[in-house]
């Protein structure tokens, strides 16, 4: 990070807390009105990303990041369509203390742990702890684990992954054809 970028970041941070308008709300409160509260997972990932950027230490492996994107994308595809009215069954309802959701999270955490992945179980653990403590305005566990911003990011990364795979296969196949024809 250059010195200029550091100063710009600091300035943006200060501006975000300056009161504006008749209600004397800081800019961050206006952003919050539109973005809604961020999930614990997104906050943790953002903190991790900032730490990596500042320290230059690479903490998360590519494999771990791919699994994270896949799980968040799958979670988003399960949660949002059903919660927003696709059919009569509401997936969001599970977040108000359904034992099935607790069990599913335990299975995901144990499977990841068994595969040597640590980031996803830690994110789930942080979400569960915050939910048990009632840290956010929401009383629904889903809001601690996932939010639309992380969902969009994960789905985008998954598409990117699939695109890369297809491009690689296409190049391999094209390379094979070229070698055969030469």
């Amino acid at each position: 990070m250059t010195l200029w970028a550091k100063w710009a970041t600091a300035l943006v941070f200060v501006l975000l807390w300056c009161p504006l308008g008749a209600a004397h709300l800081p800019l961050v409160a206006y952003v919050r009105g539109i973005s809604s509260d961020l999930s614990i997972s997104l906050v943790a990932i953002a903190c991790l990303g900032m730490y990596q950027r500042v320290s230059g230490v690479h903490l998360v492996s590519d494999h771990e990041r791919k699994v994270l994107n896949l799980v968040f994308a799958a979670g988003a595809l399960f949660l949002y369509p059903l919660a927003l009215g696709w059919g009569d069954w509401d997936s969001y309802r599970l977040g108000w203390g359904a034992p099935g959701m607790w069990a599913a999270l335990l299975v995901v955490s144990l499977v990841c742990w068994g595969k040597g992945l640590r980031l996803l179980p830690v994110l789930i653990a942080l979400g569960l702890l915050a939910w048990a403590a009632g840290a956010l305005e929401s009383t629904n566990l889903w809001d601690y684990l996932i939010d639309p911003w992380i969902a969009v990011g994960a789905i985008f990364q998954c598409f990117k992954m699939v695109g890369c795979q297809l491009r690689l296969r296409f190049r391999t196949a094209a390379g094979g054809v070229a070698r055969t024809s030469s």
Binding site: A22, A23, H24, L25, A29, Y30, R32, G33, I34, S35, S36, D37, L59, V60, S61, E64, L79, Y80, A83, L84, G85, W86, D88, W89, D90, Y92, R93, G95, W96, G97, A98, P99, W102, L105, L106, S109, W113, G116, R118, L119, P121, V122, I124, A125, L126, G127, L128, L129, W131, A132, E137, S138, T139, N140, L141, W142, D143, I146, D147, P148
Partner: protein, 452 residues
Amino acid sequence: MNFRPSGAWDRLAAVLLVLAFALAGWKILQRAPASPFAVQPVSPSTEALKPSPRASLPPQQLSPDGRFRFDAQFVSSSPGQAVHAASLVELRDGRLRAVWFSGSREGAGDVTIQTSVMDPASLRWGAESTLFDRRQLQQGLWRYVKKLGNPVIARAPDGSLCIWMVNVSLGGWAGSSITWARSTDEGSTWSTPRRLVMSPFLNISTLVKGAPVSFQDGQIGLPVYHEFITKFGEMARINTQGEVVDKVRIPGSQTSLQPVVLVTGSEQADVYMRSGTATALMVSQTTDAGKTWSSTHAGSWPNPDSALAGVVTNTGARWLALNPAPRNREVLALLHSGPGTSFGATPWIVESAATPQVRTSVQDYERLLAQELKARGAGENQVRAYVASARRQLCGEQNCSQEFSYPYLLQSRDGYLHLVYTWHRTRIKHVRLDPLQPFQAAQAATNRVATP
């Protein structure tokens, strides 16, 4: 620190994981099972009503079809404002408190939640005052609020008053969320507003219109509805701290909205909904205190995509207030059903345009409104401002549609039925009637409404 498996990090992560699942599991086990509905005891009809003396009150008004009598007066008193979505609660001393939204137009940034109190002895509504405005909500919620909408006020099982308000930060009404506040002094002061989180997608698109119901464990059942992408009705369960603890979707309610719940037993209730496609009144039932609902079906009454209200009285009778005409809001009526019976075929018409099928010319519309406003004590300038507001909202170049809409029903402890509704979008009107009065035979044939 490294996220790859290693001794110290692994141990820390494992402890965190075990602790998190143990605490979350404990929280889940602490959840109380869903409680049955709280049902008011049913009194015999002869003892239910104790009418107060009418000596000092103005004479009662005859309904448009001449079948019953009622008292009527205006609630709101700000000329020139667009007013809508009133609700009502009885205070401990027998007075009534109404709340509604008011502003330069529906959805404008200057819309506020207004309130007024009625003295039951004189049936006079006091001067209106502002309960919540956008700035208060923004400061309380510590987030941007673009506009305010429907307020619903009710008494919680713990005796406090609660108000739930629709508010929008982003987009139109489909971007709504619900904010609530509590008052322990009958509505004089209110707690800091708090948001109810009911949707995972930026908490948008949950709205409220219908009256809440109570459960035996002190929780509240709040009928809410969703409007983003598709519409559907839901029943949220709210604990004594005002937090959402569960929410049940009413199956097959896609295209339905604004549920109204009528509790008929500790496990039984019916829900009636506005049809978003203007077809018919939509209906669903529960027989397990709202844990599950039957698939939504069309009822026998038409619904012109307009809100309704309902109440179960202390005699066990059920009342609905709605617009019974299939295509407009020019007739407002009550439907009555005795305990265990279905709603009768003849509505109790409270308001009706003289010719509901034909739009009124602007001149006639202005004359009609001015006539009633003057009869109820409005001065010339006030009449002009009220009529201008109604005209702005309900008239085209040449003609206007009359509107009596967004009803809310309540039975007070003295047995009277109270109906508040939007009168031409310019005033909130209050009607008080004795629900046990005889419903007279038709004096003149009326074809103002469709019969089921």
